[in-house]
């Protein structure tokens, strides 16, 4: 997970990292609006092309930015499968299995692919966001918008500690497996309690860690004064305004077109 995040090394390579964090947030929001307004292939395709163009022009590393897509592939597969099997119209084939009828719908298949494209759009814009935006700058940007620091900062804390928690979970799983705990327990009796040996240690460790972090934060004067300063700076340039305008207008156009039924 860490590999898909912002790194300082990117700053030398990509001008996109110098954009204002809220610009990226606006672009992400615009793409989300477009993705949820319509399933029109042309519109979605164009949006995806725009994102890929952004990545190319912004010289973002393709592999690490697109790699997370691998994580959503199973989801996409399922969406397509379900739509193919569930849609009652446009059936191209069907047969009986154990008294039940299984149908394959061409319409469903296409629909599944469209929904997949929607998911891909959202995933791509989110990974671009996390690759390009420096978390501390995002926190500063939020504070500039009058979000109280302790809420804005929770974003950074989550990014920092979520991978650690996942590591802890992996260790817990190993520790319990070393006691003969079989994750794919077939015994129906134990299946219900399957989650306890993993969840209880995880929750406890998380709580303990949280209280130590809280102590450490306080020892470093967290929340000492409302007028805290920031080491990083965020500036808004003409490019930012331009990109925000483009993003929001595109989103508005698509939304209106969708509501009006034109697409």
């Amino acid at each position: 997970m860490a590999r898909f995040l912002y790194t300082f090394a990117l700053e030398d390579r990509s001008w996109a990292t110098h954009l204002h964090p809220m610009t990226m947030a606006t672009l992400a929001l615009s793409v989300a609006i477009i993705a949820f307004s319509t399933l029109h292939l042309g519109v979605m395709g164009a949006t995806l092309a725009a994102l890929l163009l952004f990545m190319a022009v912004g010289r973002l590393p393709t592999r690490s930015t697109l790699a997370p897509l691998v994580l959503i592939l199973p989801l996409c597969f399922f969406i397509t499968l379900i739509q193919t099997l569930a849609r009652p119209e446009g059936i191209v084939a069907s047969w009986s299995v154990a008294g039940r009828e299984i149908t394959i719908s061409a319409v469903g298949f296409i629909l599944g692919l469209r929904i997949t494209l929607r998911v891909v759009l959202l995933a791509v814009v989110l990974t671009i966001f996390f690759t390009v935006v420096h978390p501390a700058k995002f926190t500063k940007a939020l504070c500039d918008l009058r979000v109280p620091f302790k809420y804005a900062y929770s974003f950074t804390l989550a990014l920092r500690f979520l991978p650690l928690m996942l590591e802890e979970l992996a260790t817990i799983k190993n520790a319990q497996q070393s006691r003969g705990y079989d994750i794919d327990q077939r015994n129906p009796f134990l299946r219900v309690f399957r989650i306890f040996p993993l969840m209880v240690p995880l929750v406890l460790i998380a709580l303990r860690r949280a209280s130590t972090i809280a102590l450490a934060l306080d020892l470093r004067a967290f929340g000492a004064r409302p007028d805290r300063t920031f080491f990083v700076d965020v500036k808004r340039g003409p490019l930012d305004l331009g990109l925000r305008a483009v993003g929001l207008s595109a989103a508005a156009v698509v939304l209106i077109a969708a509501i009006a039924g034109w697409i």
Binding site: A2, L5, T156, L215, L219, R220, A221, T229, F231
Partner: protein, 279 residues
């Protein structure tokens, strides 16, 4: 005037009838290194850093005076510029994603102007030997580097006293060396250090005095040589092995000189006992 003064410190955790610290009084001089031993050592550290009474609930009596100021009289953020505490697990103290972010965090919270932050960032990183690694992601650092980063994050707030609670517990031998080398150089620069540490080989040469708490009371507070002699029958404390050997042989061999606490001293003082006489 001592830089740290503890007067009749008593602290009882909520729900317990017996106090964890009972009537502890001692002074620490500027530039001194004090090592603390005993079951209540972490609680004492938390009192010295101001976490007790400000963050941790319980009943505190007595006073802790840091650089002329009572920990009770001021808020914790003001204490942060006088006394800084480094915790055991560096993973829990590096909350920002980059090393730079962690070192400036305390300064930001205190409202330090940006130019000053830049200067102090460089200074802190140089002090701990991590210059030029600003942009490193915290998780890319080795254990020893992480702990040194924690120290830098604390030093950036320019406290005169540094408290460390088992800083090398999570580290491998290499990381441990790094941290103790850092502490030695900080001591040379005049930083006052209070440390809780089990590793006798490293702590004995560094500490000016060692303090033992028994049942919450101050039992021993003397320089290392006298300390090990005084606690020779305490089964819980780990000794440098040369010290252990010396004390074991002291009576049999009629040893009367200085107690060795480092390898070099051990060689000089005990070597002759095991070698044939030279003519």
């Amino acid at each position: 005037m001592p830089i740290l003064s503890v007067r009749d410190l008593t602290f009882t955790y909520p729900g317990l009838t017996e106090p964890t610290l009972a009537g502890v009084s001692f002074d620490v001089e500027r530039g001194e290194c004090l090592a603390i031993f005993g079951a209540a050592k972490s609680t004492l550290c938390l009192c010295l850093a101001g976490a007790i009474p400000h963050l941790i609930s319980g009943r505190m009596e007595g006073e802790v005076i840091v650089d002329g100021v009572s920990t009770r009289a001021v808020r914790l953020p003001e204490l942060a510029t006088k006394v800084g505490m480094v915790l055991q697990d560096p993973e829990n103290t590096l909350f920002n994603l980059t090393l730079e972010g962690d070192v400036v965090f305390g300064m930001e919270n205190l409202g330090t102007p940006r130019e000053e932050m830049t200067a102090r960032l460089e200074e802190a990183l140089a002090l701990v030997g991590l210059s030029g690694l600003h942009g490193r992601m915290s998780q890319e650092l080795s254990g020893g580097q992480k702990q040194r980063a924690s120290v830098a994050a604390v030093l950036a707030m320019r406290p005169s006293i540094l408290i460390l609670d088992e800083p090398t517990r999570e580290l491998d031998p290499l990381g441990t060396e790094e941290v103790f080398d850092l502490l030695a150089s900080l001591k040379e620069r005049g930083t006052t250090i209070v440390i809780v540490e089990n590793d006798p080989d490293h702590v004995a040469p560094l500490a000016d005095r060692m303090l033992l708490l028994r049942e919450g009371r101050l039992a021993v507070l003397v320089p290392p040589r006298e300390f090990y002699a005084a606690v020779r029958d305490d089964p819980k404390i780990r000794f440098p092995q040369v010290t252990d050997l010396y004390l074991a042989l002291q009576q049999r061999a009629g040893l009367e000189g200085q107690i060795p606490i480092t390898l070099e001293e051990g060689i000089a003082i005990l070597g002759p006992l095991y070698q044939p006489a030279r003519h």
